[in-house]
Symmetry: C2
C-alpha cells in the first residue's frame, strides 16, 4: 500500500475510526491517484475500496492505485462500512443524515496529511508556479483588464496548465482597492493588481503581483513588502501560524494601515487553492517542514488603490521562497 | 422587497421555518445580487440581512439589495436567528454542528425557486450560450487538444465570458470514449468531442458537440441524435424528469447501445452548472415553464470512440431549444 494511504489509515486508527467515507475529490485524488469528475466514494479501511461512477470508470481503472468497483447509489456503500465511521468536515448535511444508523465522527486525517507535501507534490507545485510566472512575463501589459486576463489564461493553458487555479484577479487603477476584483473591459492603467495561478497535475500555484507607478503607490508597496519579508523571515518549523499572521499585521499596523489589511496573511496550497494551514489569528497549527504556504499581506485604500504581494513558500529549516520573478515587477 | 426574495420567505413560512442561513454563494447571488468571493452569510427572515466578509464589503455594499453588515465570525450570526432554523442541504457537517442549540431543518426553498428562471435570468443564460457558440465557430479546429481548448477559452473571455462554466472537455480520436476527457497535447483527429460553456453575469451555458468523420461514427451519431430529439419533443410542463431520461434511454437501448449510455440525460443550468432538476431515473420533479435544462444523451464505445450531443432547452408550452448552431457541425 502507498505510504500516504498507510499513514492516513494509521491516523484513523489512532482516532478509533474503523472505516471512513472520503467524498472530497481532492482527497480521493490524494489517496488514489484518480481525480473524480462526478460522484465517487473512497472507503478507507484495512482494505480500501474506490467506488467510481460509471462515467469515470475507464479513467479510474487506469489511474486508481486502490481496488475499484462501480458506484451505483449511496445506500450500497453502507455494506462496506464497519464500526465507528469517520467522515470529512466538508460532508454535506444531506449525506450525513443518510448515515444515522452508524456511529459517525468527523475527522481531518486526510486534510492534515495533505498539509505536509511529499517531494513529488512539491515538484508539481513548483511546475505549476513556473508555468504561471512564465505566462505572466509573456504578457504585453496593455489593452483591457479582460484582454490581459484572457491572454494570461491562454498562455497558462499553452504552457501546460489544466485550468486557472482560481478565477483570475486582474484589476487596475482604483479597482485595485477590491482585493478580489474580476477583470472588466476598462483599459489597463497603473497600478495593476494580478492574482493568478496555474494547475499542473492537479496541483495549484497562487501568486499576486502589483505593478505600481506613483510615489504614493511605491510608499504603500514598500510597507506591504516589508510586512511580507518580515513574515517570511519568521517562518520556521514549530512556529504557530497565528504568529506569522500577527508578525505581518504588526508591520502594517505600525505604519498606520492596520485597518486597511482586511484579510489573513496566507494559506496552504496544494490540490486545493486554499488548504491547511491558515496564516490567520486563530490558527494554532505549528508549521512543519514540507508545508507549502502563501504569504500575502495587502493594503487597500478605498477610492484610491490597493497593493498585495503574494509569494509561495516551502517550509524547510527556514522559508524557501518558490517564486522566481521579482516582487517589484517593472514591465 | 424583491419578488424572488419574497417568494422564498413565503416558502420558508409554509415549511414552518422562522429564519434561514444561506451559505451557498450561488444562493446568496440569487437573492441579493451580490456574489461572495469569501465566507458570507445571508440570514433570511422577515427582515433579511447579509453578513459579508471585510474582503468583500466594498463589492457587497455596491451590489447587495439586502441590508449589509460586516461578517466577523460564525457565532455572531446566532444572534440573528430565531425559532426553527432552515439550512441548505449543502451545509457542511462542520457548520451544522455549530448549531446544536437550535432546532434545525434542511430545506431546498432557494434551489427550488432557482429552478424556474425569470425572463432576466433566461436572457443571461442565452447571452452565455451565444458567447460560447460564437467562440467555438471562431476556432480553426487544428493543432492539439490543449491548443484548441486554450483558443476556445480565450475566445470566450474576449467575447465576454467571466470564466469557462466548467473545465473544458476537448477529447479527440479514441479518447472521446471518456465522457469527461480533459485536453491533452495529442494532435486533433476525428471524432472531436467538445463540451464547453461560458459564464455571463454569473449564469452558465453548457453544450456538447461531436465532430465526426467515418460511417461508423455517423451511425452512432444518428442514434444519439434520435434519442436527443425524441427526448426534446417529449418536453412539456407537467411531465416528470425521470420520464424524459427514460425516453432518451429507450431509443438508445432499442439500437442495442443501452449499456454504453453511462450517464443521465440532462440537468438544470443557471447560476450553477448543475442544478435542479435532473433528467435521471429517480427525479420525480415535474417540468415547469421557465426551467432551463440540458438534453445530452451519449454513447461511449471503449477503445473506439464516443458521441454526445447536448443542447440547452427552455421549457415553454413545449421545448424551446436555445442553441443556434447545428447538431452535426461540419468544420
Amino acid at each position: 500500500m502507498e505510504t500516504k494511504l498507510k499513514q492516513v489509515i494509521e491516523s484513523m486508527h489512532e482516532q478509533k475510526i474503523d472505516s471512513m467515507i472520503v467524498l472530497k475529490p481532492e482527497n480521493i485524488r490524494y489517496l488514489t491517484g484518480f481525480r473524480p469528475t462526478s460522484s465517487s466514494v473512497l472507503i478507507l479501511k484495512d482494505e480500501p475500496l474506490l467506488l467510481a461512477s460509471k462515467i469515470d470508470n475507464e479513467d479510474a481503472s487506469k489511474n486508481s492505485m486502490v481496488n475499484l468497483e462501480v458506484y451505483k447509489k449511496f445506500d450500497d456503500l453502507k455494506n462496506f462500512l464497519e464500526g465507528c465511521v469517520g467522515v470529512e468536515n466538508s460532508m454535506t448535511v444531506e449525506t450525513y443524515r443518510k448515515l444515522e444508523d452508524f456511529k459517525v465522527v468527523t475527522t481531518e486525517v486526510v486534510e492534515t496529511s495533505r498539509a505536509v507535501k511529499t517531494d513529488w507534490e512539491i515538484k508539481n507545485i513548483e511546475k505549476a508556479l513556473e508555468i504561471a510566472e512564465k505566462s505572466l512575463l509573456e504578457l504585453d501589459f496593455k489593452g483591457t483588464e479582460v484582454e490581459m486576463a484572457a491572454e494570461l489564461e491562454y498562455n497558462m493553458r499553452i504552457n501546460g496548465s489544466q485550468r486557472p487555479s482560481f478565477e483570475t484577479i486582474m484589476a487596475s487603477g482604483a479597482r485595485t482597492s477590491l482585493p478580489h476584483g474580476s477583470p472588466t473591459t476598462n483599459k489597463i492603467e497603473r497600478p495593476i493588481l494580478i492574482d493568478w495561478g496555474a494547475v499542473y497535475n492537479n496541483y495549484s500555484s497562487d501568486t499576486t503581483r502589483t505593478i505600481i507607478e506613483t510615489e504614493k503607490q511605491e510608499e504603500i508597496f514598500d510597507i506591504v513588502l516589508e510586512a511580507q519579508q518580515t513574515a517570511i523571515k519568521s517562518i520556521k518549523p514549530g512556529i504557530k501560524c497565528g504568529e506569522i499572521d500577527n508578525i505581518a499585521r504588526e508591520v502594517i499596523t505600525e505604519y498606520g494601515y492596520g485597518e486597511s489589511f482586511i484579510h489573513s496573511t496566507g494559506h496552504g496550497v496544494g490540490l486545493e487553492i486554499h488548504e491547511k494551514p491558515s496564516f490567520s489569528k486563530n490558527d494554532e497549527t505549528e508549521l512543519q517542514k514540507g508545508m507549502v504556504v502563501t504569504v500575502e499581506p495587502g493594503i487597500y485604500i478605498k477610492g484610491e488603490f490597493g497593493v498585495r504581494i503574494e509569494d509561495m513558500v516551502l517550509v524547510e529549516n527556514k522559508a524557501k521562497v518558490l517564486n522566481k520573478i521579482d516582487s517589484k515587477l517593472s514591465v
